[in-house]
Symmetry: C2
Subunit: 343 residues, 2 copies
């Protein structure tokens, strides 16, 4: 075991787009274990868009990170010491409550055992982890897709979007991708998306969405909010379902209201359903989603890309890459332990 | 039978609040019957907020009324002549497709037989008709109330709202009324609403709603949109359901976008469901709702107020009274035939 624990702590709240200097890397003693706790060492660390909401002073769906606290985040980690009879040294676990650090002393509720027979360890943070399960739950439970329906997905090549598109196609829907570059849209095409919109190049998002969705949007899987949201809301089909999964494009407005068109008439006229979705509400159904997703991956039906960066030192950079849409697929950070596991 | 048919035709589209001069009253021949049609004479004519959306050039959920066309509207009417073997002279019917006129030649699909044993004829346009059924369907199917939950209702003393509040109380919910006058709030109190907010007198709707809903709003039955909508959206409870039933306060903005705060973070953070509701989508379930509502009225559990005006000449005035919130309870217009029926 190392002699110290590198930890990224929040040093200041970002104004709009975060900068690396909002965090500081500290070397601290490896934490003491409480009773029934386990000490785990990170193998893969995850960065996810939701983290932006946690470093805003404004109230979100979860307690935010305070100044001087370890930055929140999920990880796959190896148990290196255990005070709990049911969890053994050497076991791999996944938890959303790890934080941007090398070692964490963890309570055992909320730990998920990583079974490599279901999928490789990194996948537990990706297509069989929170992003993949978000895609599966939100699309199935809120979207309720039927064959022939049109599914519009923002951040379509991202950790969630890349799964949503493939699931939509497997349900015989028309899948329309919105992404930020041609490289991402090429990947979306490989995934099976029928058509793609590069929102950074679009001169008129409303008409581009209309052209891509000539019968209107039945399911809008909204990973971003922002201008894509507005264009989608103007192209809803009757009985549309709008799933508010992420609002990352509002990141610079978390402290002030997001102003613009409100779409109440469109919601009424189209009898649309707009629903906020948070995957943690469905924790008891994770195994069901994971099983379906893992099976798809084993069959080769489910494709995915993972964007790896190296070492805990990269955490802020990995997160900023994600916020700047510079990653392709699920963004993870590997530690040196990851070399031992298949990817 | 009279020798002519008085009809209100749309003469111009209103700019913002309609004026009486947007319609003109014409005397025309009584229509000829087509095959399988019935000729019916109005007994009660209904004015409803949805009509405002039908006289906007902007596309709504139904075809709008064109200039020179008879104004749309529902009625309870007596069959005075029949070319259809299943519908007899003297029978009372209810239809949404009657129009602001004394006589209508009607196709028989879409006609509902008025059974006075279920409720008095006027009630088929009120608490066992479209407004009551809207209340019952939207609250039960979209609202899904549980005991102890808080239900906020805008236009709480109106044709829909007066039923919603009583249903909410019967489900052991906390019912909070928003209305435009103390007289209406007094009526809401009689109906069982726990607390009321006079939105015209409120200095701060957001905090008044917060005070009235200390645990947040579980179900927001939105009959109006506008400032009440905004105040409600800032006070949602976790897993709130927002039912967009009417947007009458946007009437002046039907031709331009409704701008303001969009509440995507509130929807996400609270996992709220925002759903557009149109009762006509549930036509096959009307008998179920009507039965429940009629039973409540028979038992004396369900109270209601009806605001009657006299004669077809009053149609625009009755409608304007409604739009100006000057009515109390369901607004109807009686014809001389109504004297024959119990109220």
């Amino acid at each position: 075991m190392d002699n110290f624990n590198r930890q990224w702590k929040l040093d200041s709240f970002p104004q709009g787009m975060p900068i690396k200097e909002n965090w500081c890397l500290e070397e601290n003693p490896i934490p003491e274990l409480g009773s029934n706790q386990v000490l785990a060492k990170a193998v893969y660390l995850s960065v996810d868009p939701y983290m932006r909401g946690r470093i805003s002073p404004k109230q979100g769906y979860a307690k935010g990170v305070g100044i001087g606290e370890v930055m929140c985040g999920g990880a796959v980690a190896e148990i290196v010491q255990s005070n709990h009879s049911e969890w053994k040294e050497g076991e791999l676990i996944e938890t959303i409550n790890f934080g941007w650090q090398e070692y964490a002393a963890l309570d055992t509720d909320g730990l998920t055992r990583v079974d490599p027979n279901i999928g490789p360890p990194h996948a537990w943070l990706s297509y069989i982890g929170m992003p993949g399960i978000t895609a599966w739950m939100a699309l199935n439970l809120i979207g309720r897709p039927s064959p022939g329906e049109t599914v519009l997905v923002s951040a379509a090549s991202g950790a969630v979007g890349q799964i949503v598109g493939q699931l939509a196609k497997s349900y015989h829907c028309r899948a329309v991708a919105v992404a930020s570059s041609e490289a991402k849209l090429d990947w979306c095409k490989e995934l099976g998306y029928d058509v793609g919109i590069n929102y950074r190049e679009s001169a008129n998002l409303v008409s581009d969405v209309r052209d891509a969705c000539p019968n209107g949007i039945d399911i809008y899987f909204d990973n971003t909010a922002g201008p894509i949201h507005d264009a989608a809301m103007k192209n809803l089909a009757l009985n549309a379902r709008v799933i508010i999964v992420g609002t990352i494009s509002l990141a610079e407005r978390f402290e002030e209201p997001d102003m613009g068109e409100r779409f109440l008439r469109q919601i009424l006229v189209n009898r649309a359903e707009v629903k906020g979705f948070l995957v943690f509400d469905y924790f008891d159904r994770y195994p069901e989603a994971r099983k379906a997703l893992a099976e798809g991956a084993r069959n080769g039906d489910l494709k995915f890309k993972t964007d790896f960066m190296e070492d805990i030192e990269s955490m802020p950079e990995a997160f900023l890459k994600l916020l700047l849409s510079q990653n392709l697929g699920k963004q993870l950070v590997r530690t040196e332990l990851a070399d031992r596991y298949s990817e």
